[in-house]
């Protein structure tokens, strides 16, 4: 649909300008997606979408309007554009207004995997393989999902940006259950279909399920913790979101009282917004304002390096866009945690008394500015004593602050995993991470 999308987006920009808007950007997203959801080792529903979402950014006298439409016809869009000019007249000048930027020269990225594209029509053999792989271990059943998608986006702006990109992606995760209390979960996300990686994902989930049977209870307290890539992805996504300048303005960020150059974590931590990584499913060559994307550290060796900007937040802070628009909210594309040099066994070997946390969910904050949070572990959880995993243990909370979590990182694994699932919305490549002296808690009654 390349030509049709480009033509429509350009036409709509022209239309908006002719209606009296000063600036306009149009982002069209078309997708063909199939998702098979699994429960009790069988499909619970097979879902399929084909839709076009039209996003419009309109400016009149520095007043900003943003629209997201799933239009049933172009006439309807034109009608909405016309109607909204009346609203624009009454709004106030936005404190975030900055003119749309000059378009970049985005890198042409090869983001389509033909093999993946074909499977959208019938993914049943991959589904079968997933379930079969997990059941090679002595598990009782699996739940999970696999989603295959083909997405096209076209962007036109009144600064003459006219860009198109298409891409494929796979997201899959499994949660395996074994015995009374054993469970393990893992995920995988990529632009490409890699059957080996999918099998590896299923095997890890199943293995953790088997190994976590017959858990014992432990007392909450201060422990060294090793967080798996699933957990690292969940917690560091908060850091990723908070690095958005808009979140800083909104009082939703631990970076509110920080500036680039400040130390915010252990020198062992480097967290990158890896926009151009062709394997990770968030990759793209241009942002929603037509600025070329690039890879940049958010945190480098513990130092806060880059706040993520679109042209508006950048103008407000007297800096340049980092190619992370969102018209209103800049956001990371992919997160990558730089690898360390520890094998998994060596990481465990570093811990005298600690916990290996393989999965978590429901992370909530008491205070974003101070990063006070708790999260509840789920699935396999192990006690580590004197450098060895000794036994599976029952659920416990991590209840601490994000600044302490980042500061207490002491070692990172050398193998990275590509994680993307329900609780890790930003595709994340990360190793296992050892963090010292973290507080845990548990119900008191």
């Amino acid at each position: 649909m390349k030509e049709e999308l480009l033509e429509t987006s350009k036409k709509l920009v022209d239309r908006a300008l002719s209606e009296g808007y000063d600036e306009a950007a149009v982002l069209l997203n078309h997708r063909k997606t199939v998702m098979v959801k699994l429960a009790n080792s069988e499909p619970s529903v097979i879902q399929r979408w084909r839709d076009l979402v039209l996003n419009l950014y309109l400016v009149k006298d520095k007043k900003i309007l943003v629209l997201a439409l799933s239009p049933t016809s172009l006439d309807e869009v034109n009608k909405t554009i016309r109607e909204l000019i009346g609203i624009a007249d009454k709004l106030y000048e936005s404190p975030f207004y900055a003119p749309l930027p000059e378009p970049g020269k985005p890198e042409k990225m090869e983001l389509v995997d033909k093999k993946l594209l074909e499977k959208i029509e019938d993914p049943s053999d991959i589904v079968e393989k997933l379930v079969e792989t997990a059941h090679r271990e002595k598990i009782d059943y699996v739940a999970g999902m696999i989603e295959l998608s083909y997405a096209e986006k076209a962007l036109a702006t009144s600064k003459d940006a006219l860009f198109y990109e298409d891409s494929t992606s796979i997201q899959t995760y499994l949660r395996a259950f074994a015995g009374e209390d054993g469970s393990g979960q893992w995920s995988y996300g990529s632009r490409r279909l890699n059957e080996k990686k999918i099998e590896e994902m299923a095997s890890i989930a199943a293995r953790y399920a088997v190994e976590s049977r017959n858990r014992v209870s432990i007392e909450p307290g201060i422990y060294d913790i090793i967080i798996s890539p699933m957990v690292a992805g969940n917690l560091l996504r908060l850091v990723g979101f908070m690095s958005s300048a808009f979140m800083v303005f909104m009082g939703m960020s631990m970076f509110m009282n920080k500036k680039p150059g400040d130390r915010v974590g252990s020198e062992k931590l480097t967290l990158i917004d890896d926009a151009l990584n062709p394997e990770l499913p968030g990759s793209t060559g241009f942002d929603d304002e037509g600025v070329s994307t690039y890879s940049k550290p958010i945190i480098e060796n513990g130092i806060f390096k880059n706040m993520l900007h679109n042209s508006k937040t950048a103008a407000k802070m007297g800096t340049k866009s980092t190619g992370n628009a969102g018209w209103i909210t800049p956001h990371p594309w992919n997160l990558v945690v730089s690898r360390g040099d520890y094998s998994f066994d060596e990481l465990v070997g570093e811990v005298k008394k600690g916990i290996l946390v393989t999965n978590n969910w429901y992370t909530r904050l008491q205070n974003y500015v101070e990063g006070v949070f708790s999260t509840i572990t789920r699935d396999a959880l192990f006690l580590i004593e004197n450098g060895k995993i000794t036994k599976p243990i029952e659920k416990i909370r991590i209840a601490d602050t994000l600044p302490r979590l980042l500061n207490n990182i002491d070692a990172l694994g050398r193998e990275q995993y590509d994680i993307w699932w329900w609780e890790v919305e930003i595709p994340t490549r990360t190793p296992y991470i050892l963090i010292r002296q973290i507080r845990t808690s548990k119900h008191t009654v």
Binding site: E42, Q47, F177, W361
Partner: protein, 479 residues
Amino acid sequence: MSLEDLILYAVDYARELGASYAEARYHKNNSFSIVSRNGTIIGAGREIKEGIGVRVLVDGALGFSATNRLDNESVKEAVEKAYKLAKVHAGLMKKPIEFDDSRVGRARYSVVEKKPFTSMSLDEKIGMHKELWDIVAKAPSEAKIPVFFLNYIESVEEKIVANSDGAFITSRIPRLTIFYNVVVTTPQKGSIQRFEQLGASGGLENLEEWSLYNTLDNDVKIYEKILYEAKEPPRQEVDVVVGSEVVGLIVHESCGHPSEADRILGREAAQAGMSFIKPGMIGERIGNENATVIDDPTIPGSYGFYLYDDEGVPARPRYLYREGIIYEHLHNRWTAKIYGTQSNAASRAMDYASEPIIRMANTYFKPGDHSFEELVEDIKYGVYIKSYMEWNIDDTRWSQRYVGLEAYLIEKGELKGFVRNPVLEVTTKAFYSKVDAVGKELRFYAGTCGKGEPAQGVPVWFGGPDLRLRNIRLGVAPK
């Protein structure tokens, strides 16, 4: 072809192809929002999601497909894809999916705004952002307000649901929603943050009900005091009065969610998890006789209001826990069939692109007969937790944590100063077993409940009265 004809065509065509059950839903969500920071308007937004979702049962497999092109060809293609994908996966089914034979309805209903969105001018709506900021900014005596973020949203949800069992339901529900985030900060004492969502069905009459002009001024003054004056929570076991806001969240998390029959049967196992309630546990004790929790979609003006669910089944109140007993689950037509019962109309979809799944509507703890003074008067030493920020619950809905924001020490039956971030961390059974007195004033709070894959956020209310628990050891939030 009219919309009605288009969805009836989709149902008929799916049946022609060989689906044993077919359902089509036209669904339009239209919303308008105004967003401000510190009283200045960042921008305004319009979101329109409109399309048709089709669901089919083919040889025991369930297929869903959605399109936002409302022409014959696109709808035909959506039906064919749903059918074909269900068909090719049917071979992987161990236990074919079937629906119960619940009575379905043919009805048309709508919520009428007492004060339509158009009854206030855009200038006035914009002015409200500025006025509220003025109130918030002036409220503290010394502290500063670095951020007051306000999002005002008017929305209308319209649906036409038809299925091959004869359901035909047309509905229109307008809603008003406000989100705000306020940060109060001092150089010496750090910061305190409050995030709140207000929501209801209907129109601008809700603004009067919420009276934000009064509550925000008062609340911000309290937050400043908390920063300066709050003390650590007591370490010993104390009596705790749990405020209705926290009670509402607790019943949502530890009664509503674990009572979703699809969760009990494992359908959400890899996402939001399962339930401590297992099949066969109806009738088991989970709390004392004070503990009755009801979920009722039919409360007029509620955020989670509806009269028929998206499978066409008429809605009614559901007694999830009744006098401490696990009494009834939330069902759709699939889980009802497995349980050998009838659906109680819990099936809802967020938008046209989402499959209907089991959802709560308006969940609340049944009120009792105590005034607030009566709840507090015989407490020698205790804590009253009025509001919260952080919370979470494990994936079987058993171990949960709520961190108080506005909380007071109780001494000899009186509120005596503020307590900083007391942590209530309890199991579900402990909570419902320790309720020793129940307030009489029922209050509701708005939320957007997340569930499903892709995740669907739907409007819900949750509420209850204030409750008293005896002998609880509170925790301390990290600093």
